[in-house]
Amino acid sequence: MTRLRALTSSFRHQMLHFFAEPQWLIPNIIAPFVMTLVALMLFRNSSGNFVLYAILGGGMMGMWGNTIYSSGYSIQFDRWNGTLEAVLATPAPLVWIIAGRALWNALIGILNAVFIFIIAVVWFQVPLALADPLLFFLALFVTLLSLAALGLVFSSAFVLTRNANVLTNGLEFPIYVGTGTMFPIAMLPAWSGPLSLSLAPSWGIDAMRYSALSGYVGLDMGYWGDMVMMIILAFVYVTAAFLLFQKVENRVRVKGDIGRI
């Protein structure tokens, strides 16, 4: 019960911090705008499906960028503030606290995707006709959870480092490329295939494209196969995160550097 309280209250806590600093909305608008602009310039003369394909990729990039950046910044902020030590002194395991925050960060990442769609439709007048809206939103929701799970795994490293921002910057682009949000995984060298397929969001973006684009041919497993793979991988991430956080919590108690900035 304490664990669930830690999760829900950390989710709310992260929300309060988001609304306490309205400037957070600026990157949430500017970055998607630039991404959409680039995608539309590159694929201006392509068919409607290809434009939608690019916009979905842009939305996904926005979601991941926000998840990883906010998760890193949240831990960095706590370290600078001296509150990382304060939350570690409570009986709530750190993994539940960070999980609540990662969920909010992933959820707010939807804002990026929403802005991208709005900019594409309103500004650039791209026709957005989803082949199966229900399945699309289901895939979007599960992808969101898988992003939070992936963010949670990386967050364990953020707790250990004094400068999480360096790690977040380094982790942004490999995931864009590896998950096929920038361009299809098939275009990547063969050796990177297993790596891409071990990332849950790769399956998520594929599932979203299956449900959004009629006649889309992506990974061999189809929409539901993508969904199952994504859920399995997300569970693996969460399990790994719990084990990693146990190690991390023990390590910071041994090293005694959690309060250092």
């Binding site: 309060l16 306490a20 002194a89 409570t90 009986p91 108690r253």
Partner: protein, 332 residues
């Protein structure tokens, strides 16, 4: 403090041969490993309802001791139990039952209100949801912060932030409270309010372990004190007991202006001088010179300071600060 309220016999904190070594490394290719012994085989116990103080210079190991007892650090060796739970083996059981109050500006979320801070920590401590709001009101009233609790913490004064720290440390109604320099940087009024609050907590039966740099505070509040230097406990007694270590000592207080650290060193070199402490303000300096026989030592001290601007010299009774300085210098 022990004269005005009963102290139990049950030991709620038990520390045995506790050691903490920090390991660090420097350099990238040629790594240099370094070990620092921060706490060196300390042992003590604290009884239910007692206020136990830890005194010591900066870097003596006070905060490290508190961090081990509050489970933030794992001891290198030895054992520490709080309310019967080993801090290494059962950290979550310990955390449920204790409160940690730290001094200073950090440790609070500045961009949200004081109430929102407390609500978050109440949730992390698992305060039952139906009791949470009442508990928040109670602690806010206790620290006199009800009227500003919905303002953002970044708009609080230093004293208000400290009061919020205290409220945060009490949110789970802990049996044992750890305070690390709770009045550091506070103005005299805020310090006095904090000391009154600490006394109220003792009346409620709480057990407190506190570190402080302020001797008058330790003298006023603590039932027992441990003086720690370079990680070792060099003395442990009641404030009166520690002061009695100075029963064969007199203090000559020298007041002047333009006195320097060189004068302090000069006085320390006089045979028969046990220790010298100095309060060096810009407009006035006060030196406290510990000697065995004030009558004999007045003349040599005055002689050494003959070229300095001495305003007054008085013979005084030794204080806890004198005892502390003597102990630290003796064991340096």
């Amino acid at each position: 403090m022990s004269e005005i309220r009963p102290i139990g016999t049950e030991k709620v904190i038990e520390v045995t041969d506790l050691v903490r070594v920090y390991k660090s490394s420097q350099g990238f290719i040629h790594k240099k490993k370094k070990e620092t012994l921060a706490v060196d085989r300390i042992s003590f116990s604290v009884k239910k309802g007692e206020l136990f103080g830890i005194l010591g210079p900066n870097g003596a190991g006070k905060t490290t001791t508190i961090k081990m007892l509050t489970t933030l650090l794992i001891p290198t060796s030895g054992s520490a139990k709080v309310l019967g739970f080993d801090v290494s083996k059962h950290p979550y059981e310990v955390r449920k039952r204790i409160g940690l109050i730290i001094g200073g500006e950090r440790g609070l979320y500045f961009r949200i209100s004081g109430r929102q801070n407390l609500r978050y920590f109440a949730d992390l401590y698992g305060v039952p949801r139906q009791e949470r709001e009442k508990r928040i009101e109670d602690v806010l009233r206790m620290v006199d912060l009800l009227d500003r609790c919905d303002d953002r913490v970044e708009d609080y004064s230093r004293g208000m932030k400290q009061r919020l720290h205290i409220a945060k440390g009490l949110i789970n109604d802990p049996e044992v409270i750890f305070m690390d320099e709770p009045t550091i940087g506070l103005d005299p009024q805020a310090s006095r309010d904090t000391r009154k609050l600490i006394k109220d907590l003792l009346v409620q039966g709480k057990t407190i372990l506190m570190t402080t740099h302020y001797m008058f505070e330790a003298d006023e509040l603590c039932d027992r004190l441990a003086v720690i230097n370079k990680g070792k406990i060099v003395a442990m007694d009641t404030p009166r007991g520690l002061k009695s270590l100075m029963k064969d000592t007199c203090v000559i207080e020298v007041e002047g202006f333009g006195l320097t650290d060189k004068d302090v060193e000069t006085l320390k070199a006089i045979p028969g001088v046990r220790a010298v402490s100095a309060t060096m303000n810009e407009d006035k300096q006060v030196l406290r010179v510990q000697v065995a026989d004030a009558g004999e030592m007045l003349a040599p001290i005055a002689g050494r300071l003959s070229g300095s601007n001495v305003i007054d010299m008085k013979v005084k009774e030794p204080t806890l600060e004198d005892a502390y300085l003597w102990l630290v210098e003796k064991n340096d």
